[in-house]
Symmetry: D2
Subunit: 258 residues, 4 copies
């Protein structure tokens, strides 16, 4: 037991220290947001390619329209517009096992099941390995994270660009290939297409980068936080919350609105 | 009434559109996080100086040690380590009127009370204007946002570097000067020093930049989200939650721990 | 400064004490939920009529269908079914200024504006007093809490039964009469009906009971917590979350679902 | 697919219906809180013994001093006193796998592993069954829910009174006996005492009552909600939040407070 302290930072009346650096003279205005994020969360500055890749993962998580997170945030604002933090929190609370949290699950699955895989395994070996993982998950009754999407049923448009960006930054290797093979194997198995989705691709890239899967889940929360702020600024100017409520009520003819 | 829609984005089976741009071909890998944030939240890309300044505001909000937000997040993780989103949300919920939310209040106060001020008002006029604002707040029983700090009682070390960064990027004008004058005026008035704090300086910079104060409060949430993720990664590896709980209980001698 | 301690309770290895009572021998199985709630929150047991009235206020807050709170909770469950607490929290976060929080605002307004009113003021004096309050709120640009309802536009069906229950328990006096008069006065003023709603009636009853308005807001949260648990149990069995999401997306023809 | 509707309730301009009953004429003032909770969550009124037992479970969950939940809620209030709902939500978010959520896990474990057990199994058979469950959990690397307590290391004082209340209401049978045996078996196995705790006893009682384990977890949230409201009312009157913050900071000598 080391006592109650954090290596993240400490403070005195005239100085704030972040991971050993003076916040005022060595961080603010000197490091950018992605560098500062890595400094506090990983305890080190990122390399240039790593920083670009992390930045891309944040961007990918920002938003895509009226998601359940955005609906929850706007419903919360409808009742409590005094609390931006409350509406953002309500939106983030849905980032769990089924949505953004899958980036962590996918990274963990790949790290565990793919560690023994040779870096230069050929396509046939990769496909065979993926089929074994799918079969093992199925027989254990466990979901396979990172595949399929309710809207992008034939393929998630974010996956190719994520894989390209990973390649361009030197982070496309066996885990990305295994993840793509998992998507193919799920399809074989269920007779319907269940291709890799964006969360799955992000999980694979996290594994390639050697980053902590929990950090990856954190990136998804930070990026989504930005998207939720955008939704709430729009909700204040062009509110749809009341209309969403009315719309939902009207689906049950027993509800009668004036 | 415009129907239920958001200008932030929409989606089809093979395409996600963000503010009119194709997410896969025009955003991911093309725009960085600050640009994407401005695109979704403000509906436009930022200028170069604006982007640097917004990046600095995000960095400033990240963290400074075991704040109430961090304690709340770690207490939550102690009971519910299965939910990173829950612990982050618990931390963000404290970003209200008294802490991070003050950036919004300060920006709004300055925009309202400083609009009539000439851009080149001299120091005496500025001081006089600040004294009138302080007097008006006091007589209305309203707190003056953005001044004083429980730890940095003689001056917040982040304020000078924030002001320098604002100057370097062309965002240091009458609102920053008025904010500094407000800190001085509070000191005069109460016989103790209540200098401008970081939240106050950020509020002033937001006013200079012409940004929506609610967006500024959103920046504080996004930055703090990064800091909370860092705390929770550390809590998993080197937990202090149980020790904090014991420490708090031991302050009351009626509690007896084994 | 009294040190860090709570009068609510303390604990030793073999005993838990709640407001001076032994939890195991004097509370569990001896006091019911409403008594225990009063004991911890107010520091005393309620009288019989008080307990009945508080019970009724809890019941009133439980639920009424697919409210914004319930929609938010179900949207959160859709992404994070591993965390009942997260979905309940997301639902409670909307209980703010505009919805359940109004019980506190109404109680505070009545206590402040009605203190000087004679207990036996006649109807004309009451109406005149209400008109002055409405005029003062309007000229200060402040909303009048507890009046009007988007669905129950001609009158909230909960108000008469709340007032009857208040009468039956000895809690119907000048504050309830003033609250009803406020609803009438708002109608006079705006040329449309804005009668007292349930939150307004509850606020008035809290004032009659001499209870802390913040405790009243707390009752609303506790009652609503029960309703949210019910919604989430149903959502697990007969989920509507995905359908709500699809329904919302389909309102914008630019969204195309498979 | 049944469309978007809830069996919990619906509303018209002059009527609110809860599970088929008129809220104004058949619920408010007619049913008490526990009855209303069962009506909305279970779709039926409870029997008299069931209602007493559920009431007792709510009471047990209310509070026991400065728990992590209470600390989190008070830390949140320190920064955002404008939002009671936010501080309550922050406290509830810690009711996860390790703390209150264990009532659900225990009930599920008992229902799964104890279904085949004869109602009149003798003590030896019960002990043997418990040892097998403990061994199976250990070999699968799964935690055993509902045993052990950091403070009540030799035995949780709430367990005997919960078991007595269960007996008095006809809910003490094989699941309660198996739960107690599990506590004994954990002790045998680890050479230290790990007796049944309150969450474990509640889980056993839920199994006896045939209630949905998720409903049991919901009861814990509702009860705890009451305790958190009490803490926040006290925090407003006799704040300890700032002192807790200072206390935590002072544990690391690198932090210097004025």
């Amino acid at each position: 037991m080391n006592g109650i302290r954090t290596e993240i930072g400490y403070t005195t009346p005239d100085r704030i220290t972040l991971r050993g650096r003076d916040l005022a003279t060595e961080v603010i205005g000197k490091l950018d947001f992605v560098q500062t994020l890595c400094l506090v969360a990983l305890g080190r500055l990122p390399g240039a390619a790593e920083a670009r890749m992390i930045d891309t993962l944040l961007v990918t998580a920002v938003d895509h329209g009226l998601t359940p997170s955005a609906i929850s945030a706007r419903m919360t604002w409808l009742g409590a517009p005094e609390s931006l933090q409350g509406a953002v929190a309500a939106g983030l609370l849905g980032a769990g096992e089924r949505f953004l949290g899958t980036v962590q699950n996918m990274a963990e699955l790949l790290l565990q099941e793919g560690a023994s895989l040779a870096a230069d395994a050929d396509a046939a070996a990769m496909a065979e390995h993926a089929r074994r993982i799918v079969a093992a998950c199925r027989s254990a009754g466990k979901p396979i994270p990172g595949v399929g999407h309710p809207i992008h049923a034939q393929g998630d448009p974010r996956v190719p660009v994520l894989m390209e960006t990973a390649s361009a930054n030197g982070f496309h290797g066996k885990y990305c290939r295994l993840a793509l093979a998992l998507g193919d194997a799920c399809g074989d198995d269920t007779r319907r297409v269940l291709p890799l989705n964006a969360a799955g691709a992000i999980g694979a890239i996290l594994a390639e980068m050697g980053l902590d899967p929990l950090f990856g889940r954190g990136l998804a929360l930070i990026g989504r936080c930005a998207g939720l702020v955008a939704h709430l600024i729009e909700e204040r100017e062009q509110p749809v919350g009341q209309q969403v409520w009315n719309l939902v009520l009207r689906q049950d003819p027993r509800n009668v609105l004036p």
